[in-house]
Amino acid sequence: MLDRTPEFPLPPVREVGLSQKFRTSSGGLIDRRRARDFTFDGRTLTGYHGDTLASALLANGVRLVGRSFKYHRPRGILSAGSEEPNALVELRSGARREPNTRATMAELYEGLEATSQNRWPSLAVDALSVNALLSPVFAAGFYYKTFMWPAALWEKLYEPMIRRAAGLGRAADAPDPDTYEHAHAHCDVLVIGGGPAGLSAALSAGRSGARVILVDEDFCLGGRLLAERREIDGLSGPEWVAQAVAELESLPEVRLLPRTTLFGVYDHGAYGAVERVSDHVAVPAPHAPRQRLWRIVAKRAVLAAGAIERPHVFGGNDRPGVMLAGAVRTYLNRYGVLPGAAPALFTSSDDGWRTVADIAAAGGRVAAVVDSRPDVPVPLRRMAEAAGAQVVAGGQVIGTRGHLALSGIDVRDSYGGTLHIACDTLAMANGWNPVVHLDSHLSRRPVWDEAIHGFVPGQLPTGMVAAGAASGRLTLADALESGSRLGAEAAEACGFDAKAAGTPRTDPESTAHTPLWRVAKPKGKAFVDFQNDVAASDVELAHREGFRAVELLKRYTTLGMATDQGKTSNLAGLSIMAELTGQPIPAVGTTVFRPPFTPVAIGAFAGHHRGKEFRATRHVPSHAWCLENNAQFLETGLWLRPAYFPRAGETDWLQTVVREVETVRSKVGLCDVSTFGKIDIQGRDALAFIERVCANPFGTLKVGRSRYALLLREDGFVLDDGTVSRLADNHFVMTASTANAARVMQHLEFCRQWLWPELDVQMVSVSEQWAQYAVAGPRSRDVLTRIVDPGFDLSNEAFPFLGAAEITVGGGIPARLFRISFSGELAYEIAVPAAYGDAAWRAIMAAGLPYGICPYGAEALSVMRIEKGHAAGAEINGQTTARDLALGGMLAKKKDYVGRLMKERPALIDPDRPILVGFRPVDPSQRLRAGAHFLAVGAEPSLAADEGYMTSVAFSPSLGHWVGLGLIRRGAERHGERVRAYDPVRGGDVEVEICNAAFVDPAGERMHG
């Protein structure tokens, strides 16, 4: 019912083999008619639909599941949830391999493939388990004290050795073949957790008509109600859950998201959640993503994430077979798995005893119950004894026996004597920690609650409340009551008329608990953080060495830094430090839990944005023609611009570009320049506005004329350049460079809205409306004559250099014509509505045929601007002033404009500053490269000798050799001087001569022609 994705056709129902010897004969929420074959380390095993990998492994008697991080100690399954530190496997294989996957969270599916990790050659025989013998050396932080001699050996020997031994699983070694997607959701009430508190909250909020989203990381809703034998109003837990879920599903504004982990709480009611859409099947269904990242915006949230049980800290507490008591009950009640034939219980709380009752109810026997509290109520003792248990009140488990799995425990009784008890499973019950992770994501620290001996939420993020166990209310009755009440209150806060349901009747329970933070004088290493192999002795060492603040403790010992983020270990570490420093636990501090709650696949965050879809791709109006005509493209920001158009027989790009340049310089060429930004500026104060944003004067610009425009940043450096054309008295069009178009628009809006709001200016981007093409070359006028509609006079007299006009083309289509030239040739830019861009391009190509027209791309465009000495992106790089670019002469003197004052700072007018000039190789056969630095001939390379650098280079077809632009100290005074262009990263060292930057037609006669 809860699957959002369609189920695959099921394999035929078949008889199950006898392998599942730890499976109970009946009971549990698994579907015994649907067997699932899977493999673990190559061995084929069988479980059921509804199992997790962990429950299926336990059903098959597999207890050794992994090896620990540092000591490679054998490890089994500790928990039944997302807090699992030990049972990490590599799930799937090849490109789908997922390392460090918690077996307790992996849903079993047909053909599931799991491999143990961090062991060699095999899980049972692991060479690096020798580390365990060296554990006296490998204490916390030992590596800070050694591996220092000789220094060179760190990278060569020590570090590679450590790196190979460290890490857990192996990541996939190929691109992820599955897809991910994002989705946005908005709701009134977000309920985090689908246990009794969460379901109650969702019901009372949902019934009011509020928009409710309920998320739960499990694939079944119900939480602990699926794991315990409880009664609500006469219904069993699972029955009550089914009823609640059915009602929620019937409410149109309630959205249930199982298999969805709420991983992060962000500012202002924003939440991140990841839905594992297809992780429970071998391969995602067609069109289904593997996972979906939800960005949820909620007005209110009810945190009902439950609690996590605490392990005991005693010798050998990491042995496979030692489990949390709640997990033992989960496996038994939910999955029909009794993890051992001779289970024992080590408890410090009343609820631990439920384990005994549950095992007995399933017909199992219990080897022993060790309760650290001296007084055990008689009925509990009787129940345990009826199940065959030896009961040790006031006792402590101090050690475990067995190698790869538990075979017995050593118990110290209340008189100080020790006894050995044979058992194959040990359930630990040491109280519960509310899940306070999510409420601390916004830097709020939890507070200590003496009643439950644990941390509970402190000040919660705005709009969030905590219900049930997550708030420290550990009984079922409290969970139902608080959930229902807080769900209703949340809906009411959103304007709905909501009522809490009456409090249901539940069976009685006791949460009495006396925590046992650690067992004194343990036999063997007593682990605090299982995954990172941090033992109680490591905490003692950290204390001894001064790492007493909780953050220092964490960092020095790595406690809480493993993939489980210390869900089962943080409090134990704190409690030991508290004991050592003689402080109460809350005085030692709390760790601030960081998002995500559990690890989230990187692919899920990226969603659609990978490969070619990493960022959008913008196409120019002539794109279709370019595709048809073998254009080679160039990335310019998001734009895909045609770079050059190779013809048959041309063997390299330079040959093509040279041909394109020569054609433009001798005949005519056509280039798509639509990528420039185009900003329509109108209004009474439009000219005043342009005067303030541009550094050069515009007062004399007449209607029908264009002018070069230079924009500075307020700090005096050049922001961008372009043109301003005056179409009517109060109507202008400004262009901006391709790279800076968006930034310039933002800057102009800033000036208009914030700096000078009194100016009446209307501004809008028309960049996309107009396809704009440069028609350049001596025959450009001839070509355009055949394009513009009759009646418009293109003659030099009627439409001179820097003319601008609104015209029609193609028989009445509105267009704009500008006589501007980037190439230095007689040239025009013609703009037509973008839908006609394709037609215009084809028409111009056809009209140009008799004149030998060719299309040219961004490369030829760049060559020609370098030949002309025009600055572009490589020169306008945010580090140059107008003076640096030899544009100082055009700066206005009689008006205020952005950047006016700051450009006059002493360092910026220093005559020693590098200035833009041209460079040509002394030996014309030598190639120049941009990025080379200039040195005096004969000078030793050094920073002090550095005189500037080459910004742009091109092979000039017009001159037949390479030419360059560059910034060099006092360049304007040094024409004719020779320097070295030094380029050691490419092995270049070329003697060049400083010259005028305008290599072609320095007088600029051609474009005026």
Binding site: H609, H619, H731, Q762, A835, A839
Partner: protein, 202 residues
């Protein structure tokens, strides 16, 4: 320019990307239908400072529509006024040329700029249209928050878009800068695949 000569043919903004037919899931009825809207007339209308009331009156005369408030989109048949920013609206009409001379009409009241070719507009309709959009649009499109007559300027897959709702089918129209049409289409194809997408090209 009402009657463009027939020498040059306009090219649709979606031509290279949207291909008619069924995409994605093939079983059952398509959850969403995508229809490129080519040949619309679109003008941006930016009010002159202090002229908003007179502008509203002028537009009422011309369209019989009042000037929508921020976030509003008002339609009369296929002609509409859509808020697009503070003091700025989009005027939309079904056929290229329908808004010719608009600038003259509003002279002194607003700056008008033709955007008919600057935006590529797509109509998305069908029972799953909202679920498709939900994958990219961060704005709440739930009927309680957004419905016919609403517009939002926002982003989808890092691409700036403006969308407005036409009816309760629901039918949305989404406008994107023309050069981005291909990338928006890639996103849409992926987002709509699970529901089955019928592409109708006129």
């Amino acid at each position: 320019m009402a009657e463009h000569a027939t020498l040059w043919r306009p090219r649709g903004a979606w031509d290279l990307y949207a291909h008619a037919g069924r995409h994605g899931r093939s079983e059952g009825p398509a959850g969403v239908t995508a229809t490129p809207r080519e040949g619309l007339a679109l003008m941006s209308v930016t009010a002159v400072d202090g002229a908003e009331e007179r502008l509203a009156a002028a537009l009422r005369d011309r369209f019989g529509l009042s000037l929508p408030e921020p976030g509003g989109a008002l339609f009369s048949g296929e002609t509409g006024l859509i808020w697009s920013g503070p003091g700025q609206w989009l005027a939309l009409a079904p056929t290229r040329g329908d808004l010719d001379g608009f600038g003259e009409t509003l002279k002194g009241l607003a700056a008008v700029a033709d955007q008919s070719d600057g935006r590529a507009v797509l109509r998305l309709s069908g029972p799953d249209a909202r679920r498709v959009l939900e994958k990219g649009v961060s704005v709440d499109l739930h009927p309680r928050a957004f419905g016919p007559g609403h517009t939002a300027v926002t982003a989808v897959a890092h691409i700036g878009v403006q969308l407005w709702q036409r009816d309760d089918a629901p039918t949305y129209e989404i406008a994107v800068a023309r050069s981005f049409a291909g990338s928006l289409w890639s996103w849409l194809e992926e987002a709509a695949a699970e529901f089955g997408c019928e592409v109708r090209v006129a």
